[in-house]
């Protein structure tokens, strides 16, 4: 049986479902069901919020790497699927590198704002 931790939650979410409450009451009894239910609500909230932050972070890191590849490798040595790949071009695509860097920074900024811990009222 999972351990229930008492959480400071300002108020129960209005979208509380009877199913959850009933299941939790069965599992933990009346007294602890409220805390368990609070945990369910909070977990649901973080599950909704975290994937976006995670995706933004992963994409941001990928774009940083892409940006570095554009700076370090000439157009002829880029992976074939990269925009700007040209077999006979010895030049570097610095503008592509800057573009990837800007996107990465935008994604990091998004993740930075979205991952701020929400303070309970």
């Amino acid at each position: 049986m999972p351990r229930i931790v008492a959480l400071r939650v300002p108020r129960l979410a209005p979208m509380a479902t009877c199913d959850h409450a009933a299941q939790l009451t069965d599992l933990y009894g009346h007294g602890r069901a409220v805390f368990a239910y609070m945990r369910v609500i909070q977990t649901q909230g973080s599950i909704l919020a975290k994937p976006l932050v995670l995706v933004a972070l992963v994409l941001g890191v990928v774009l940083l790497i892409v940006s570095a590849i554009y700076v370090l490798e000439p157009a002829s040595s880029l992976p074939g699927f990269f925009p700007g790949y040209a077999a006979a071009d010895a030049g570097h695509h610095y503008k592509h590198a800057i573009g990837a860097l800007i996107l990465a920074l935008a994604l990091f900024a998004f993740a930075w704002f979205q991952s701020k811990p929400r303070r309970a009222a």
Binding site: K95, H96, I98, G99, L103, A109, W112, F113, S115
Partner: protein, 280 residues
């Protein structure tokens, strides 16, 4: 080669046309074609001239709006520190709106600017784009209907824009990469569609133009004066562009307090048709 007279005329034209909603790129293609000036647009001299005139225009814009930029930079830093863009922090919100609006055209410009300008280099195509630019401006004014009163500069109203609206304005700005479409005109049109007044749409367009024009110019600085030629002409052109840009922005800020884009729309359509006929 570019003579001093040509540098002065094109410099003055660049400063005016960059900020008036009539397409500077379009005019730098059309005017030489109409006057039968044999200017190699890909030459080092002309590229240096373009970079310096754009740099001058961007610096003038940054100078005119320097107080706003200081507040916007402060707002951006404040929001990053607090990890929150507070609803009552006008300049933090405005800063991030400008970031959102800048990203689409910035990315597209970095990736496709040269290809787009090569595709749309023909004077006839630019003339058609100028007509379309005028049509868009006129259509937006028609959709908007009659103004109820003078437009008042209000950064709070700018900051009240939503992020999707900022993105829409940024996407509209992307079309300005095509010579003949005006950056100021399209971003203003985007702002007007999102219920900004002319004064505020104009201010947003000028604020939005500054980082893009500056970045485009700075990116090309390393290749400046590669052959060591045309330094004097480019500097004279830049000085002319700075003067005309300053006068233009001052004029337009006052103009848009009470007036609309209609005269510019009509100018673009007429000039585009004339240019199309003259360059055939």
């Amino acid at each position: 080669m570019l003579s001093y007279l040509q540098a002065i005329i094109l410099g003055l034209l660049q400063g005016v046309a960059e900020l008036f909603p009539v397409s500077s790129l379009g005019h730098t293609v059309l005017i030489p074609a109409i006057l039968h000036w044999n200017i190699d647009r890909s030459s080092d001299v002309f590229v240096s001239f373009l970079v310096l005139t754009h740099l001058a225009t961007a610096l003038v814009l940054a100078g005119v709006f320097w107080r706003d930029w200081v507040k916007i930079a402060g707002g951006l830093l404040r929001s990053l520190r607090d990890r929150e863009i507070r609803a009552d922090d006008t300049y933090a919100k405005l800063g991030w709106l400008l970031v959102v609006s800048t990203i689409p055209a910035g990315l597209l410009g970095l990736l496709l600017e040269e290809q787009l300008q090569a595709i749309f280099a023909s004077a006839s195509v630019v003339a058609i784009a100028l007509v379309l630019n005028g049509a868009v401006l006129y259509a937006v004014e028609r959709l908007r209907g009659r103004e109820t009163g003078p437009s008042v500069a209000d950064d709070g109203k700018l900051a009240a824009l939503s992020y999707p609206s900022a993105l829409l304005i940024g996407l509209a700005q992307c079309f300005a990469l095509i010579p003949g479409f005006s950056r100021t005109g399209l971003t203003m049109a985007g702002g007007l569609v999102r219920d900004l007044g002319h004064e505020n749409a104009g201010r947003y367009a000028f604020l939005l133009a500054t980082p893009i024009i500056l970045a485009a110019a700075v990116l090309k600085l390393p290749g400046l004066f590669a052959g060591g030629q045309g330094v004097g002409e480019a500097l004279v052109g830049a000085a002319c562009a700075a003067v005309s840009a300053y006068l233009s922005v001052r004029f337009l800020l006052r103009y848009f307090e009470t007036r609309t884009l209609r005269p510019f729309a009509i100018y673009c359509v007429v000039a585009g048709i004339l240019a199309f006929v003259l360059t055939r």
